[in-house]
């Protein structure tokens, strides 16, 4: 017997979630246009360069040359939507009590390993049934911390004289810029894992993020 479970994801949370999609797309794209004007970052092991951010073919493929002004104008417009959406989301989860499902619990950090092992197919047997498992709690809370981090590091490099105390607190202008960049790489990695998990979880789970309701199969 199928049964509809109402209100798995409240309407407000679905809005905040999906608004992020176009907003972050434009923020990351315009951020790349800005980064391209001065792109020194790479990961080195000794003298061996592991990863360059980014190789020329990457920028060329996106036709990114000399569009710094365009990138800045979009970035400094959409930053408002990013901020407002983030504040509304955090405010809503706090007031509605949804934070109880999202915030890590005492055992979450230990349990998260079990989730990872389970998802990789190493650990057999079912996980404890919860709206969000331990790994999800950590991931969904971390992404909020990262969002706040992007906002603060962004402000630190946007107004480094007016907010010099903030820029100094974050390790100075260059460190703040690096952190701002690293956080964006973090979003992209989050996105990749997020999509993989959504595909793995299947249609019911994906649908609930759009319709709000969930469907369970109950054995009679």
């Amino acid at each position: 017997m199928k049964r509809i479970i109402e209100n798995k994801h409240p309407l407000a949370i679905r809005w905040f979630h999906w608004v992020n999609f176009p907003v972050l797309t434009v923020m990351i794209w315009s951020g790349l246009l800005i980064y391209w004007a001065y792109h020194p970052y790479k990961i080195q092991v000794g003298s061996f360069t592991l990863i360059t951010f980014f190789p020329d073919w990457f920028f060329k493929g996106l036709h990114m040359k000399q569009r710094l002004a365009e990138g800045m104008s979009w970035h400094f417009a959409l930053m408002w939507l990013f901020t407002i959406n983030g504040i509304l989301y955090v405010g809503y989860t706090l007031i509605s009590g949804e934070w109880r499902y999202l915030f890590p619990k005492r055992g979450s950090f230990k349990e998260a390993w079990q989730v990872v092992l389970h998802d990789l197919g190493i650990r057999k047997g079912p996980l404890p049934v919860e709206k969000y498992n331990a790994a999800q709690r950590i991931a969904y809370s971390s992404i909020i911390v990262m969002g706040v981090g992007s906002l603060l590091t962004g402000l630190a490099i946007y107004k480094p004289t007016q907010f010099s105390w903030l820029t100094t607190l974050l390790g100075g202008y260059e460190i703040a810029r690096l952190l701002h960049f690293a956080l964006t790489i973090g979003y992209v990695l989050f996105f990749v894992v997020h999509i993989a998990q959504v595909v793995k979880a299947g249609w019911n789970n994906f649908r609930s993020m759009i319709t709000g309701f969930d469907v369970v199969d109950e054995k009679v």
């Binding site: 017997m1 199928k2 049964r3 509809i4 999906w18 176009p22 434009v26 800005i34 980064y35 004007a37 001065y38 020194p40 710094l68 002004a69 365009e70 800045m72 104008s73 979009w74 400094f76 417009a77 408002w80 107004k159 480094p160 004289t161 007016q162 907010f163 010099s164 820029t167 100094t168 100075g172 202008y173 260059e174 810029r177 649908r207 759009i210 319709t211 709000g212 309701f213 469907v215």
Partner: protein
């Protein structure tokens, strides 16, 4: 509606799913439409007018917090770069005649004032070692020396609509424009930024007179702005209530570029 109550669970799931996805599809047209609308608007200073309007509102927001008490952090002398980066040659393409160079100051309704480099040097000299920031994203700790722009303005009683010494900020014209002698490069500054105590008319770099490509004989150093506003080889300074023309604002950048 009695029929509705008779819907099976499967039918309910199906109907509600279709309805939600239809709304979702409609809603996703909003960002696409927004993008297309903004991109198709007439350009103002090389970017779509709505984006220009937002940049200008950002300036209003920034001005609510702006204060002459907010200073750029300063550094120790040995932290200053010996090899100071040169990033722009606009306005410096014609040769400079140091002997005939003069600073022209223009104010609406008043006679022009012409100053020599020695006149500027009679004002108190300040050294500033700060992190110079380029709009491209790089920065460099640099050591500059010169007179405060604010001191020049108050000493020569410049920039007020009355022509008298200023009794308050409102007495000043809204903007100060600067251009190179060949008019090849030009910037506009809001008067509050121009009056910032770290804004220098620099004639020294690392304790030496300026080299040509660093803006000899006199250039602007203004830590509340990106490098693009730090005009080299100042030829004229013009006070105005309307925004003076600005080289990079004409090419798609924010006019304010305040830090």
């Amino acid at each position: 509606m009695p029929e509705r109550e008779e819907l099976t669970t499967d039918q309910q799931i199906r109907r509600r799913t279709i309805k939600s996805f239809a709304w979702f599809g409609l809603a996703s047209l909003v960002p696409v439409g927004f993008w297309k609308y903004v991109s198709s608007q007439p350009k103002e200073g090389s970017i779509p007018a709505p984006l220009r309007a937002i940049l200008n509102s950002n300036e209003q927001v920034a001005n609510m917090y702006f204060s002459n008490q907010h200073l750029a952090p300063t550094f120790a002398l040995d932290e200053a770069a010996k090899n100071v980066r040169i990033n722009g040659r606009e306005g410096l393409r014609s040769p400079l005649d140091q002997a005939t160079w003069q600073l022209q100051i223009q104010q609406p309704g008043r006679d022009n004032l012409t100053l020599s480099l020695d006149d500027v040097k009679t004002l108190p000299k300040f050294d500033l070692i700060f992190d110079f920031k380029c709009v491209e994203g790089w920065s460099q700790v640099q050591h500059w020396g010169g007179a405060r722009l604010a001191d020049l303005i108050t000493h020569y009683k410049l920039g007020t609509r009355t022509g008298q010494p200023a009794t308050g900020e409102a007495d000043y014209f809204n903007y100060l424009g600067m251009e190179t002698p060949d008019k090849g490069y030009y910037v506009g500054l809001d008067i509050a930024s121009a009056m910032h105590p770290q804004a220098l008319l620099a004639y020294e770099m690392n304790g030496e007179p300026l080299a040509d490509l660093h803006g000899a004989p006199l250039r602007l150093i203004i830590p509340v702005k990106y490098g693009v506003k730090n005009l080299k080889r100042i030829g004229t300074m013009t006070f105005a209530d309307e925004r003076p023309r600005d080289f990079w604002a004409e090419r798609g950048y924010d006019y304010h570029v305040g830090l």
